[in-house]
């Protein structure tokens, strides 16, 4: 299968968030232009056919901390080269996305913005070491609406130590007030090497997380947002097509520092070293995916979706009947899964404990 999606990584950040373990560098330590030059060179080497892409996602880091000119260079290039793109997302931080940049996005076909909102409280934003405050977020969303850019997503984090039900209520209230079409609510996960990790901060325990999660689903549902993936909610029709590429276990290109892609049955990850990348080296670590592994990845990813996966699609891809081939494994988890309208899925109430189910399905 030929990839229909492209991920582009922009590693620059004004400030390092306390929970973030993505590849990033402090703004000002490396030349943006030189990075972009290497990035475009890498992109050219991929030889992506002119009309093959359906989605592009520019993530980070903080892509919005590129200057207007730099952004112009990148977006115009992509616009010219990949005219068939249908969903084009730019990740942004509220403080660095202004009207000019929004207009630029509109000019070059960017039709989806993903904003790091994270919390509805300046105190929590401070704890998270975010560079923006509430007023920046409100201003940014106002600008988006004013320019009729309605298709945007807000990212939130829950489960910080000390976070109360009231805080969660505030988050939900704000996210609804800002009228986005898409919401991502991520439970705080402390990753090695992050500031939180080094400060020995612990996320709330699983019981509290679960309560918050169940509450979220209910509240967002009442407001018209449907959960379609473990941490993702959308007004129907506004699901992220790019991210669905990952969860459908389909191939995708990726360029930029530490970017990961999946082409020709091979997953790869570029170097994490900015110095190397700036020398034009991607130093890709590759892993060829065996057919057994591919099957497992397919399940691991697709089952994150509330809809699960189409049994026909499984058959088409792996040339066997899932329900027959996994009969023994399914038997062990039959209480937690369902087959409905030709789709196999984890029952929604067990999505939050799906690893236990996956482990049974893993052959």
């Amino acid at each position: 299968m030929r990839p229909k999606s492209l991920y582009i990584h922009i590693p620059f950040c004004e400030k390092i968030c306390a929970y973030c373990d993505f590849a990033k560098v402090m703004n000002g330590t490396f030349s943006h232009m030189k990075y972009l030059a290497n990035l475009l060179k890498e992109l050219e080497e991929e030889e992506i056919p002119f009309d093959s892409l359906k989605t592009i996602y520019i993530g980070g880091g903080t892509p919005s901390c590129l200057t207007l000119d730099e952004l112009d260079l990148l977006l115009s290039y992509l616009y010219e080269h990949f005219p068939s793109v249908e969903e084009f997302t730019l990740e942004a931080n509220p403080e660095s996305l202004d009207k000019d940049k929004i207009r630029l996005c509109q000019m070059y076909g960017v039709n989806r913005i993903s904003l790091g909102a994270q919390a509805a409280s300046d105190d929590i934003l401070k704890t998270l070491n975010r560079n923006h405050r509430m007023k920046d977020l409100i201003r940014c969303c106002d600008d988006l609406h004013e320019l009729h850019f309605d298709n945007f997503n807000l990212d939130f984090i829950y489960g910080l130590p000390g976070m109360t039900k009231k805080d969660l209520d505030d988050d939900i209230e704000l996210s609804l007030k800002l009228k986005s079409k898409h919401l991502s609510y991520y439970s705080l996960q402390i990753e090695k090497g992050t500031m939180f990790y080094n400060k020995h901060i612990k996320a709330q325990d699983d019981e509290v997380m679960r309560e918050m999660y169940d509450y979220l689903i209910k509240k967002l549902h009442e407001a018209g947002f449907e959960r379609y993936e473990v941490s993702n909610f959308a007004i129907p029709g506004y699901e992220s097509r790019h991210n669905l590429t990952y969860w459908h276990d389909e191939p995708y290109y990726a360029v930029g520092l530490s970017a990961s892609g999946y082409i020709n049955q091979t997953r790869f990850t570029n170097t994490h070293s900015m110095t190397k990348y700036m020398k034009g080296l991607t130093d890709r670590a590759t892993e060829e995916i065996s057919s057994k592994s591919e099957e497992f990845e397919f399940l691991m990813l697709n089952l994150r979706l509330v809809s699960g996966f189409s049994l026909d699609k499984f058959k088409e891809r792996f040339h066997k009947d899932f329900l027959v081939s996994y009969q023994k494994e399914i038997k062990k988890v039959e209480e937690y899964v369902q087959v409905k309208d030709g789709y196999f899925a984890i029952k929604p109430e067990y999505l939050y404990t799906m690893d236990h189910i996956l482990l049974e399905l893993l052959k």
Partner: protein
């Protein structure tokens, strides 16, 4: 290479664990030129990878080296390395009988320890000349004088004879080599008498059969001789004799005073018993060497393949391991919970762990090991008696039981006086019966207790180390069976009894133990989608319960492009761990649960 007896020295090296035996042996090999410096892997005599990893010697080993002494003559040294763990005391004793002398090592930073004494006494009892060495003198915390004083007080060793060395840096080793020549007696057996050779180790070679390590006491043996093993009357024709330098070197013959190996197309290692005497079939010696005994396993546990399909593979792994390990015994058994497996006997817990690791590493098998147990005697009212190796065979109903007994041991603990209270509390908690206490010097004490073996074999040594900040040392000796009121404790998971978790416990502490066990199991058994009750029962009575709560969250919050490989590897790793678990009904139990059963501390 031919040496008359005057130019041969047979000696072993004995010490407490970790006092540096293997390192000193390495240094001797290097100084005598037996091994080129570049070939010298640390602890060369330790063949097994587990030995190297753990830094302990399990199987003993013998090496012949030559040494040009200051008197201008060249001597043949036969050096026998000995294991240094309580599980392997018999292996030490048999290697001592093959020698005229022993280098007794004491760690200069730790002083005399329980096994320095145990092994030191063994060597003196065997009539060996002792060369006392204080090792690790390069370390700043070393205290040679203290060691000298302790050696006079405990083993009556002349302080002037104590040699300071550093096996690590090589300091003092040349001096030691000279003293091996000067102080140790040469062997004296008569080469013209009928053959009398002691077996002190054996290993299996797929081409030549069992390779036997021997010390020729009297007479000689050559290729083509027909030999007899005196304890099992096996008759074999010698196909090869030689010495190890440490590479094997064929010789025409081995005669009185010499140490070497012998091959005679012996098919089963169980036909060769360590401590047995070899003689010539047509010209036998009148008496075998004294001190022979069959090695008795002390601890039994069930080994089961995680995947029942691997039963035959496990069987062949055990067969192969027992080729080189005469102390390992096994026979098939079945468990309702675990399926088909083997009840295996081990010398002790370390031996059990070694076997377990070798099966997993060398044969790549996933196995489950049930809680180890000693052998209990059950005396029934009808006068019959049954030896119980497997707790699941112990009667639930005690109405037909007149009495039960279990093996006891005399335990000797040496400890600095500041920890006496801690050690006594520990011994008391382990049903120890106080015997005596005496001061070795003003700082150290020997405590003697009588204690059930079941309380010693599992984690007593670890606990002893932890209550004494690592200073206490342990030695014990079995004294036989005594009456002891023990009962069978079953464990139910989700309402179903798991026979593999059944243990035998002392009735007086059954309640405390049950509570500790269910709490521990609650911690080691992973959460599942539903709540699982863990119950301990004696007979039909539930005496403790703890519940494993249902899992509430385990999903990864984000799973995008870059997370996929990482997440998959994580799940695969978990799956691997899961494959090592056993399912009881719907409950999955990890291997640790079986061991956790015995390492619970009911006094906390």
């Amino acid at each position: 290479m031919n040496f008359d007896q005057k130019h041969i020295r047979n000696f072993c090296v004995v010490a407490h664990i970790d006092h540096g035996k293997s390192t000193l042996c390495d240094r001797i090999l290097e100084k005598t030129g037996a091994v080129e410096l570049r070939d010298l892997q640390p602890q060369l005599l330790d063949d097994m990878s587990i030995e190297r990893e753990r830094g302990i010697t399990i199987k003993l080993n013998a090496v012949s080296v030559t040494y040009k002494a200051e008197d201008g003559d060249t001597y043949l040294f036969n050096l026998i390395d000995t294991p240094g763990h309580v599980d392997f005391t018999y292996e030490v004793s048999r290697s001592l009988s093959a020698c005229e002398g022993a280098i007794l090592i004491v760690d200069a930073t730790q002083g005399v320890q329980a096994q320095t004494l145990a092994n030191g006494y063994l060597a003196i009892d065997n009539g060996l000349e002792i060369l006392p060495v204080v090792n690790k003198v390069d370390l700043p915390s070393s205290n040679v004088e203290r060691c000298q004083l302790e050696l006079i007080d405990t083993l009556n060793i002349n302080p002037d004879k104590v040699m300071p060395v550093s096996a690590k840096t090589g300091v003092g080793v040349e001096h030691l080599l000279e003293h091996i020549v000067k102080d140790l007696p040469a062997p004296q057996g008569d080469p013209d008498k009928p053959l009398k050779a002691l077996i002190f180790d054996s290993k299996f070679d797929p081409y030549r059969g069992v390779i036997v390590l021997i010390r020729v006491m009297e007479g000689s043996v050559k290729v083509g001789d027909t030999i007899r093993l005196m304890h099992n009357d096996g008759i074999y024709r010698v196909t090869e004799v030689g010495i190890r330098t440490p590479k094997e070197q064929k010789q025409d013959s081995l005669s009185a005073g010499e140490v070497g190996y012998l091959a005679a197309s012996i098919k089963n290692i169980s036909d060769v018993q360590v401590g047995d005497t070899i003689t010539l079939d047509d010209n036998p010696t009148d008496k075998p060497m004294p001190g022979f005994r069959k090695v008795q396993p002390m601890v039994f546990a069930g080994l089961y393949p995680s995947d029942n399909k691997d039963f035959e593979n496990l069987k062949s792994a055990l067969e192969k391991l027992s080729l080189n390990d005469s102390a390992l015994v096994f026979e098939p058994e079945t468990s309702v919970a675990l399926g088909s497996g083997f009840r295996c006997g081990f010398l002790g817990l370390l031996h059990m762990e070694v076997v377990q690791e070798r099966i997993e590493e060398e044969f790549d098998l996933d196995i489950m090991c049930t809680a180890p147990s000693v052998v209990y005697e059950v005396h029934f009212t009808d006068g019959s008696m049954k030896m119980i190796q497997n707790p699941a065979d112990f009667p639930r109903d005690k109405t037909k039981v007149r009495s039960t007994s279990e093996p006891f041991a005399d335990v000797k603990v040496m400890v600095p006086k500041d920890y006496v209270g801690n050690v006594m509390t520990l011994c008391q908690n382990r049903r120890g019966e106080y015997d005596t206490m005496h001061y070795i010097d003003e700082t150290r004490v020997t405590l003697k207790y009588k204690m059930p073996l079941s309380e010693i074999v599992f984690d007593f040594f670890d606990k002893l180390k932890s209550v004494s900040q690592g200073y206490a040392s342990l030695d014990y000796e079995l004294i036989g069976y005594e009456v002891s009121n023990v009962v069978r404790m079953d464990i139910m998971l989700n309402g179903e009894t798991v026979d593999a978790l059944t243990t035998i416990v002392f009735e007086g502490s059954a309640y405390r133990r049950a509570r500790a066990v269910v709490d521990k199991l609650k911690d080691v058994i992973p959460k599942q989608q539903f709540e699982i009750p863990v119950q301990a029962c004696i007979g039909s009575k539930i005496i403790a319960r703890s519940d494993i709560k249902a899992v509430r969250k385990d999903v990864l919050a984000k799973c995008y492009g870059g997370d996929i490989s990482r997440k998959k590897k994580l799940l695969e790793k978990q799956k691997k761990g899961k494959k090592r678990m056993k399912e009881f009904g719907k409950v999955q139990v990890p291997q640790e649960a079986f061991i956790a059963m015995l390492t619970v501390d009911e006094n906390q």
